[in-house]
């Protein structure tokens, strides 16, 4: 732990004190390094590589800083560094679409910053001017600051009602950047929630069921919306919305089960981070995988893990989730049976979405294979090797976490319980093809209304002109002329007359 309170603001410190920030930090570092290595290869011919690396490094620094922060202000520093620098990654390609998405991203990021700032202020004030986590977690939350913090951090985390920017911004960034955005950066919001909103807080426990339901909605919404898009990266982005919903659900469970859900949450974060990064990276170079079965296998490994194929990390976290839910101390209006049914349905939908993704990837390949950039063989091989490393990490790492936290391994029954949603999804998908039902074309790839409002907002805050009050111009000059002419009297008699009149008046009025 590094104490910086004599240098920076009071209470500033960096360190990996917690038992979950440490794995979080190492996991993030690993992911950043892997993707960084990937970027070294993929951005080699990028004309704007300098800018890319600048923002990449800033994001990296911000992300690491916020995880290692021991006090709220350091966290906020890292958080804003991350948020703002990510803008550079989002609009890296410079296309109109990217700029549009970037604008939306930035608007919401700044809004989130400010909300978070207000929340922090209220909390800091409540904590008597101390900034470290421990003193904050000891002070009970109040509804206003809780709302502000949830909104501010939620805008980063990107679960359902606060997800607007996510499906726009993630797809337009370069593949490694999207991988990081979805893989680690949106987790920063979640980490913030973990830090700022202690599970044991009374108010938090009251609100947890609501968050739980929100998470579920988000999980479903992400998938359903994703099914309506055909660009692979958009689908992946919506999948992130859905997965963040699960994470929010887990976060809510923390308050309902005590801290037992924490390792599961951590494992889920690692799992989703790795899987989503792999998928984004793959989506970025899917063209090179055409006709190469091993490369496609990497996709399937990652996708299946996300679909919670038994023995995969996905299976691990999904069973963990179910176990925790079962153990949770739910309020009466939340029926556990319905919830687990919904979870199962969610698993089916997730699998469906990934199958949809696979299909779209193939279609995209067929369209794009003609005009993919020809990279050198060594470059390409290096990238695929890194992807492979990532995928293997995905399959291996969560088990370490389970081991470290001594969680129960999924039982055989649970494994089989995970199989059939997968099969059901396959069946549905097959049926879909079989009957070649297509939704009307205009249902697909609709522009998000958020973009429209973003433009409206932009016009609002960048007005070309504002109403100006125009004072009526009064020209007194003619009046002055008239007065001058009227007063152009001969001086001597006039003055003498005034003198006499004054005398008379004064004497009479005495």
């Amino acid at each position: 732990m590094i104490d910086l309170s004599n240098w920076l603001w009071p209470g500033a410190g960096l360190g990996l004190g917690d038992e979950f920030t440490r794995p979080w930090w190492y996991f993030s570092l690993l992911l950043w390094l892997l993707v960084g290595g990937f970027s070294l290869l993929s951005q080699r011919h990028d004309p704007r590589a300098g800018r890319y690396w600048l923002f990449f490094v800033l994001c990296f620094a911000g992300n690491m800083l916020l995880i290692a922060a021991l006090d709220a202000v350091s966290f906020y520093l890292g958080f804003s560094l991350l948020s703002l620098s990510a803008y550079g990654l989002v609009i890296h390609s410079g296309t109109a679409k990217a700029r549009r998405a970037g604008r939306l991203y930035l608007q919401l990021a700044v809004l989130g910053e400010i909300l978070l700032f207000c929340g922090l202020l209220l909390r800091a004030s409540a904590a008597g001017g101390r900034f470290d986590w421990h003193s904050w977690q000891a002070v009970p939350l109040e509804p206003l600051s809780l709302t502000l913090l949830l909104l501010g951090l939620g805008l980063k985390a990107g679960f359902c009602p606060l997800h607007w920017w996510l499906p726009q911004a993630h797809p337009v960034a370069p593949a490694p950047a999207s991988a990081l955005l979805s893989g680690v950066m949106i987790k920063a919001g979640l980490l913030g929630m973990l830090m700022f909103l202690p599970a044991t807080d009374a108010l938090m426990q009251q609100w947890a069921p609501v968050l739980l339901v929100t998470g579920l909605i988000s999980a479903f919404y992400g998938v359903l919306a994703g099914l309506l898009y055909t660009q692979p990266k958009v689908i992946l982005a919506y999948s992130s919305v859905s997965q963040m919903g699960y994470l929010l659900l887990l976060f809510a469970l923390l308050s309902l089960t005590g801290v037992a859900a924490l390792p599961v949450l951590l494992a889920y974060v690692v799992h989703h981070g790795m899987a989503k990064s792999s998928l984004f990276l793959y989506a970025g170079m899917a063209g090179e995988a055409a006709g190469r079965i091993w490369r496609q296998a990497l996709f399937w490994l990652a996708a299946l893990s996300m679909m919670a194929l038994p023995l995969s990390s996905g299976a691990l976290v999904k069973t963990g989730l179910k176990t925790q839910l079962a153990a949770a101390n739910l309020p009466a209006w939340l029926d556990i049976g319905v919830l687990s049914l919904l979870l199962t349905a969610g698993a089916v939908l997730t699998a469906l979405l990934l199958l949809h993704l696979a299909a779209q990837l193939r279609a995209a390949n067929n369209k794009q294979s003609n005009h993919t950039v020809k990279a050198s063989a060594a470059n390409s091989a290096g990238r695929w090797a890194l992807l492979m490393a990532l995928v293997s990490a995905l399959w291996v790492l969560p088990w370490f976490i389970v081991q470290q936290w001594q969680l129960a391994w999924p039982t055989l029954a649970q494994h089989t319980g995970l199989i059939w949603p997968l099969l059901l999804a396959l069946l549905l998908r097959w049926l879909w093809y079989k009957f070649s039902r297509q939704l009307p074309a205009h249902w697909y790839n609709r522009n998000a209304p958020a973009l429209y409002y973003s433009l409206k907002l932009k016009r609002l805050y960048q007005p070309v002109s504002q109403p100006q009050r125009h004072w009526p111009t009064i020209t007194l000059r003619p009046l002055e002329r008239r007065i001058n002419r009227a007063l152009a009297l001969p001086v001597v008699p006039f003055t003498a007359l005034v003198c006499c009149v004054l005398f008379g008046v004064l004497l009479l009025t005495w």
Binding site: W9, P10, L106, V110, E113, Q462, V464
Partner: protein
Amino acid sequence: MSPFWQQYLPLAIILSSLLPGLIIFTLKETQVKLRISLNLFGVGVKLLLVLLMWQAVKAGQQFYFSLPFLPGADLVLQGDALSLLFVVLSSVLWLATTIYAIGYLEHSPLRSRFFGYFSLCVSATVGLALAGNLVTFLLFYELLTLATFPLVVHRGTAQSLAAGRKYLAYTLGGGVILMLGVALLHSLVQSPLFTPGGYVTAVVSGNEGLLKLAFALMIAGLGVKAALLPLHGWLPQAMVAPAPVSALLHAVAVVKAGAFGIIRLVYDVFGVESMHALQLAQPLMLLAAATILYGSWRALSQQDIKRRLAYSTISQVSYITLGVAMLGPLAAVGGLVHLVHQGVMKITLFFCAGNFAETLGIHKVRQLNGVGRRMPVTAMAFTLGALGMIGIPPTAGFISKWYLGLGAAEVEQNWLILVFALSGLLNAAYFLPLVYRMWFLPQSMPWPQEQQLSNRFETHWMLLTPAVFTAVLLLLMGLFASTELSPLSWAELIVEREFRHD
């Protein structure tokens, strides 16, 4: 330190810029070297003296110098912690501005006159900071107006003359109203030294109406320079002045003088107790909050860079007023530290805007496209300044907003946090597009008026260094806020002394 020194040090600090200024007036245009060395000599001496004083004040010494003037109100120069905050700010920024101005005006006419008035202006500012009572303050306040006016109209064009006229109309009007207020207060309690905790407490009962009137008059007078809401009209127009002058107006001298006066008025004349007793804080707070939002809102639509910055100043300076008006220790720290931080940030922005104008002829927002590639260092400095204005950590702006926000929460005025949030959003809305244009858009048209000012750097080094210096300063002040040298700890010291009196 001997008593002799102690007495004359405040005077020497003023003279260190006044005398070179007066000598510079007499120089010929061709005596460039002599003029520059005189100028820099003055800056150097002043910084040295200020350093001496800073150390002594930190150790708890007081400086006092007086001349007989009006009955009951001598001309007093006094060095206490609060005055030193302002003195240090203006001397350090004067250094940067002097270098900048030398580079900026390298080939323009009437430089002797310019630098003469420039030095006078700084002398008046420092005198105002060191003023020990209201009458002395009033004196330097008016002198500042006079010394600044020739700078505002320096270009001598119809536009700058119009701006000068407006500037005078506002500031002289404010000066008269301030004089009225000071005279009223003087007739009630004389004009003793500024004392922490104020000196009107004894006469509050029975004189509520008059005291309120005096306060309103003085706030109106100071509000002109501090650009409080209905009195801000001169500031956006005065931006036609050359960039160093804008820097002076917005960061070093004029606007700050108003804000500083409000701080003095609230803490050292009326004092927290009387402010509460007279219920003066709430209206001031409302006024400041309205100014903050209004300034930001008006800044949105300004297409001229310096004009946009000017509206931003209107908004930002009211943070200081707001911090003061909240009457809580944390808010006071925020307000005081913002006095410094805002100065450094705004001067950076003006330096950069001046660089763009001087090197490339850029005046409008839309001409900024792609400047980041042509002038990366300046654009970087500008970006830092802009981020600071929005209040993004780790810049200095964040620190002051943080303390202001904490102060608002401390005195349970949560609506002010909303004001800060809104203003932050608006700040982002008018600064980020500039940053965006600089870095992320390609150059869309040829530079309006490009000049090759340097072969090695993107512009003349004398224009570049001050901007970089202040940009680094604002970053350092934000990063190392807890160190002993930071304005934050100095502000805490002041507040501790101000609030400890009882």
